[in-house]
Structure formats: structure tokens, C-alpha cells
Symmetry: C2
DNA sequence: TGTACATCAGTGAACGCGCGTTCACTGATGTAC
DNA sequence: TGTACATCAGTGAACGCGCGTTCACTGATGTAC
């Protein structure tokens, strides 16, 4: 097999990023080699460096894609009509806790090990920080937009705590691999979300 | 240098576990090699396997030590007299968020990457799960013991949410390396803790 | 439109490096007499 | 208590492996005429 067409090459490049994003979310960035990714798209190792400068370059693009997908997924949930911030919060949290295939694991959690500690880990760390902040802002903004009473302090502080609790409960769930006590914690977070900003009747 | 005395050997073994525990918390388990640990205690690689069967064996002991230290640290905070569960919760959360040297990083967060995904990762994964559950139970028990009204549902559910939020906020803090928005989230969790179980007057 | 040539996407072996682990060796420690 | 010997904690080089990256090569694609 010789050279591919420019169009084919671009498609291959996109496939590499997509597969990398899935595999990174499923197994963790540091447990997936460049050869793994290339093998998964049916190519060999050598061609990789025709598309990317380094593994970190690929990681950066894979992060961006994963965060965009997660954001779109949250956005889809928020599209529905909700009766106040609490109902909306419950929907988001339920969606966040719903059992999903490992390729769709939360990027905030799945990619954290790769960037933790390294303040200057290159482009991929930036992509992580941007993506995480974007998801946070999206969560808060949607929550405020569904609030009934803008002056209610609960609408400003509770969502932040809820966000932290949501991520923390899922983070521990991943690490513990289905211990029953953490399921009970997640259930508590879900119930709390449903009461987060009680509607003023 | 030839053989060490039995007593000296036991001390060396303990030093290896202590150094490993510190280094693992500071840099992450997978970023610290056996040679790193041995070098840090002033020994060479070969002697390691006179004390441990494998790196995972060392990891298991290092985990146990770290969780015991964290538990003792929490216990020390809980020793004081508090006026109700809320004051006590605030003290714990404040202590948990206080800036500490990286060798004292939260083991629940620092060791998670090593066990995430691997359901059967050997002894170290068990040590992680046991340690994490122990810290959780300690948190909940201390919280309940300081509650004024045992029938208050907030004393049963809120601590679980608070625990998740506390861990989640710190987890994101580590990964983001001091982004200002996550500081604001942590502050929100601290304020929430101070109101967690309002005393019935 | 057809032809000759340069380009470059993809191949697969190889390199260099760090890691966990093994091994023959050393010599002070522990023990049997 | 003193001596001869076995034990074994610690040494440091070496092994095997997987990784990220490099490289000479291939042959279809793109381009100049």
C-alpha cells in the first residue's frame, strides 16, 4: 500500500483522534500506547508522525474532542423544559451518574491522572483545564438559567457544591469499582440535587 | 558493606515503606520507580527484593500507612470540642482543604489513578478500597456523633454529600493546579459545611 | 488528454530509554560447638 | 569465652520488556509540461 489521497489522509487523521479519545477515556491516557491507537484504526505505528508531532499532540486533540462531546451531551440534557433549577439539577446529575460505556467516561476524571502534578505538561494539560472549566461554567450557567428566583443565594452557591459532589462521587465510584457504600453516596447526591433550589410557591 | 543486623534490617524496611508512601503521595505511584524509593533511603535497587515480593507488595504497605496517617490526622481534628455537627464539619473540611506539603496529599485522590479501571489489581487495590471506606466511615461517624438531633435527616444524608463535595473539590483542585474558579468552589463547600446541620434552637 | 516526475501517506524494522525483576557476589551477623 | 562456619542484608551489573520516536523504504497520488 502506498500513498493515500489527501481526503483519505484527513479522514484517517480524524479516525485516529476519535479512537484515541475513546481509548484514553476507557483505559487512561498512560495505559494506551501510540501503537495501540494506530492498531485500533487498522494502521501501523510509523504513519503516526505524519499526522502528529508527538503523543502529547494527539492527547491534546483527543482531550478537546472528549470535552466537546461531554459538553454536547450535557447540552442535550438541558434542552428539555424543566420546572425550576432543582428539577434541572436532578436531570443533569442523573445523567452524569447513569451507567455509560467506558469510552464515554467523564473526561474530567479520566484525564486527571495525566495532568495532576505537572503544572507545565504541554498542550494536553491546557486542553484539560480549558475543558474542565467549560463544563463547570456550563453546569452553573444552565443551573442559573433555570432558577426561578435570581436573588436566592442557593442558586449561586448550591450549584458549586453540587458540581463538586457530583464529580467527587463519580470519581470515587470509578476508583472503588462499584463498592456499595459509594452507590449510597451517589444516591444522596441525586436526592440533594432534586432539592437544591426549592421552588418558591 | 555486608550484612545488616536483623534490627537494622527491620528499620530499613520501615524506612522504605515510609519513603515510598511519601513519594507515592507526592508524585503518584506510577511516577515513582523502585529505584527512586531505594535511592531516597540511601540504598541500591538489589536489596529491595529481600524485603518485598514485588512493587505491588510495597504499594500495598505504603497505601496502608498513608491511610492510617490520614485517619490519625482526621482523628486529631475531631478530638476538639465542637458545638454541633456543623461546626465539626467545618473544621474537618477546613483541615482537608488546608494547603499541605505534597507528601501529605489525600491518599484517596493520590492513589486513585493506580487502581482505577483495574478491578483485580492485586493487594494494593484492596488496600486502597479499605482505606477509602475507612476514611468515609470515620467522616460519617464523627459527624453523627456531633449531631444534636439524631432524627434530623440532614445528619444522615448531608454528610454523605459533603464528603463527596469535599473530595471532588480537592480532586479537581489537584488536577487544575490552582485555577481560581475551583478555589471559589472549595470556598462554597466550606461555607456549606458550616451550615450543614443547623442546630435546633 | 497523456506522460514523466516529485511528493508524501503509510509501512515495519530499529533505536534509546526507563522500568520491574533477577542474579552472582560480598562481608558482617548470627549460630553451633 | 573463643573459633569456625552458615546465613542473609545489601551491592551493582544485567536481563527482558514496552514505550515513544526515528528512519529508509514503497508506491499511489498530485502536478508540471
Amino acid at each position: 500500500m502506498g500513498r493515500s489521497s489527501q481526503e483519505q489522509a484527513l479522514q484517517n487523521r480524524a479516525k485516529i483522534v476519535e479512537k484515541a479519545s475513546s481509548l484514553f477515556r476507557k483505559y487512561g491516557v498512560d495505559n494506551v500506547s501510540v501503537a495501540d491507537v494506530m492498531g485500533a484504526v487498522g494502521m501501523t505505528i510509523g504513519g503516526f508522525y505524519k499526522h502528529f508531532e508527538s503523543k502529547d499532540d494527539l492527547i491534546q486533540e483527543a482531550f478537546s474532542l472528549a470535552f466537546r462531546q461531554a459538553s454536547a451531551s450535557w447540552h442535550r440534557v438541558s434542552q428539555h423544559e424543566y420546572d425550576g433549577a432543582a428539577e434541572h439539577a436532578a436531570a443533569i446529575v442523573n445523567h452524569y451518574f447513569r451507567k455509560k460505556p467506558p469510552e464515554q467516561a467523564c473526561p474530567m476524571i479520566a484525564f486527571a491522572p495525566h495532568v495532576a502534578g505537572n503544572t507545565t505538561d504541554g498542550l494536553s494539560a491546557d486542553a484539560y483545564r480549558e475543558g474542565t472549566e467549560a463544563l463547570f461554567k456550563q453546569f452553573i450557567d444552565h443551573m442559573k438559567s433555570h432558577a426561578r428566583d435570581g436573588s436566592d443565594p442557593a442558586a449561586n452557591r448550591d450549584p458549586q457544591v453540587l458540581f463538586a459532589a457530583m464529580v467527587g462521587a463519580r470519581f470515587l465510584g470509578e476508583a472503588l469499582g462499584g463498592a456499595e457504600w459509594i452507590r449510597s453516596v451517589q444516591a444522596a447526591v441525586q436526592r440533594r440535587a432534586a432539592e437544591a433550589a426549592p421552588s418558591r410557591t
